[in-house]
């Protein structure tokens, strides 16, 4: 019985997240369109509202092409690795008090593990496609994820120190429900580092070097088409949402808001995640791509030292006060 309930919860979460992924693409196209004084999708449905559904149907029925020289099993497995890793990390996110599929004590570590695993999908895709562009994209992704994973982990260690826990629900509870309790204020340095490495982790502009379409065609997913490409796309958007949720949980006080909402407790959480998604899109509409060496410079010479400084400061503060 218990298993059935969990299965239903998983299905509901999956469906909701997929719907969000579909409409995140719509949201992104609309917002970027309006920021560029265009309209964005307008044709399918009222103001293009059915566009993501049409896109979904289209990519589902498209021909599935696997290049002749590709390493077939790896080629097929790569997008699935990406998607599964991203979907798995959804399990530990607390959407509201008690609204979590797996309330495990190492939630934050689990998310790190899964987001690193997802980059295996990208690297394998680059390698299995047997194409220069894909390979370069995969290599870049590897280098990028390694350098930014460290900065990101270090920036969240401050949060772990303050809350004294790796359990995501407990991190939110430790922040209390007032604005001053949010870790955004004491951890502003950590948030800065986290935010930049979050952009790099999810391969978004200005750090979208793995799929830099101006130089690498489409990077690691050059050889992918139809549904397999769509799976990479979904993985990217779920990755964005997971990172936005981590940012919300660790720095913006999770589901706590100015007042409690009676029927839909995750409301504040969802709004904060939307705010993060808007930021992602806003940055994409504004900034050009970093050069590869600038990316590495920023990661190793600025973010990691900053995160270390933040860590030492937080530890000293914690030792003096607590």
């Amino acid at each position: 019985m218990h298993i059935i309930i969990i299965l239903i919860e998983i299905l509901a979460l999956f469906a909701l997240v997929m719907l969000h992924v579909a409409y995140a693409t719509y949201f992104e196209r609309k917002i970027i369109g309006h920021m560029q004084v265009r309209l964005g999708p307008m044709r399918v449905g009222w103001h293009g509202l059915l566009q993501p559904i049409a896109d979904g149907i289209k990519s589902f029925f498209k021909e599935d092409i696997i290049p002749a020289g590709a390493d077939r099993p790896t080629f097929v497995a790569a997008p699935i690795i990406c998607l599964v890793a991203m979907l798995t990390s959804l399990a530990v996110l607390p959407f509201a008090k008690g609204w979590v599929l797996a309330d495990i004590d190492i939630g934050l570590l689990f998310i790190f593990a899964m987001s690193s695993l997802a980059s295996y999908g990208v690297v394998l895709a680059g390698w299995a496609s047997n194409s220069k562009f894909s390979f370069l994209g995969g290599l870049r992704s590897m280098a990028q994820v390694i350098s930014y994973e460290i900065a990101m982990g270090l920036s969240l260690v401050g949060v772990m120190l303050l809350s004294g826990s790796l359990n995501l629900s407990r991190i939110v509870e430790a922040q209390g429900d007032s604005i001053l309790g949010m870790y955004l204020l004491p951890q502003c340095l950590g948030f800065f580092v986290f935010f930049i490495s979050m952009l790099a982790e999810t391969n978004r502009v200005p750090f979208d070097l793995p799929e830099a379409e101006t130089e690498l065609v489409s990077g690691y997913c050059t050889e992918y088409s139809g549904m397999r490409y769509a799976i990479f796309f979904m993985a990217e958007y779920i990755g964005m949402m997971v990172m936005a949720s981590i940012g919300t949980i660790c720095f913006l006080g999770g589901w706590n808001g100015p007042f409690a909402v009676p029927f839909f407790p995750p409301l504040w959480f969802v709004l904060k995640v939307y705010l993060f998604l808007f930021l992602f899109i806003w940055i994409r509409a504004t900034l050009p791509r970093y050069r590869y060496d600038q990316l590495m410079d920023l990661g190793w010479k600025l973010l990691i030292p900053l995160a270390l400084v933040n860590l030492v400061l937080t530890a000293c503060l914690k030792a003096m006060i607590g």
Binding site: I31, G33, H34, M35, V37, L39, M42, T286, L287
Partner: protein, 219 residues
């Protein structure tokens, strides 16, 4: 000379990355401005005078045939070489040229309008029709019959007098009035004649932008 590529910043500006913030503010401002997209099939563009659309051969009301005299200037001046004219001399009476066929490959045409400028008798015009896509090439490779029908169709739906459209304002640039062929000396508004002719960049100074793009675009 020393070229300074990057303006100097204060340390405060470096920390807060003011350039990025300024760029973000600009995109946010644009988010709330009115888009300039024209929803094409529902919302047609406003066609200006001198628009260069579908080709047509003006039908001479006197003879019911084309006005073309077969001087071949249009075929010579055409940069994409898409005009083919076949003509023969009428030996008996006037010793004039009669046009057998006049072909324009509209798919090769670049719509420069040189043929219209150079035509001494205003025989060829570019109409304001721009929606004439087709599923086969034959119907876009215009022959003389099709070109004359294009003109009939365009003249029928035009609300201005037909004589005005037979473009007196498209004339070879930089020539004095008296050196032009007679057909090109028709009276036109001053802005279209001689030195005052508004072409290229000056266009913006003389014409207000269309009402649909006027708001909010303060670039």
């Amino acid at each position: 000379m020393q070229i300074q590529y990057k303006p100097k910043r204060t340390w405060l500006a470096t920390i807060f990355q003011v350039e990025i913030l300024r760029g973000m503010a600009l995109t946010l401002k644009r988010l709330f401005s009115r888009p300039i997209t024209r929803q094409y099939p529902e919302e047609k563009p406003q066609i200006k005078i001198g628009f260069r659309g579908q080709h047509a051969l003006v039908r001479d009301p006197a003879t019911g045939l084309t006005k073309c005299v077969g001087c071949m200037r249009c075929a010579m001046v055409c940069p994409s070489r898409c005009i083919r004219i076949r003509s023969h001399k009428e030996k008996e009476q006037w010793n004039r040229r009669l046009i057998d066929d006049y072909r324009i490959e509209a798919l090769r045409c670049v719509y420069c309008g040189y043929c219209v400028e150079v035509c001494p008798v205003n025989a060829i015009v570019l109409t304001e029709v721009f929606e004439y896509g087709a599923y086969d090439r034959q119907s876009i490779f215009f022959n003389m019959e099709q070109l004359l029908t294009n003109w009939d169709r365009f003249a029928a739906q035009m609300d201005r007098p037909v004589a005005d459209y037979v473009n007196p304002f498209w004339r070879p640039r930089g020539l004095a009035e008296h050196t032009l062929p007679v057909g090109k000396r028709l009276a036109v508004a001053p802005e279209w004649s001689g030195e005052q002719q508004v072409v290229g960049r000056n266009w913006r100074q003389h014409h207000q932008p269309e009402p649909s793009c006027k708001e909010d675009v303060d670039v």
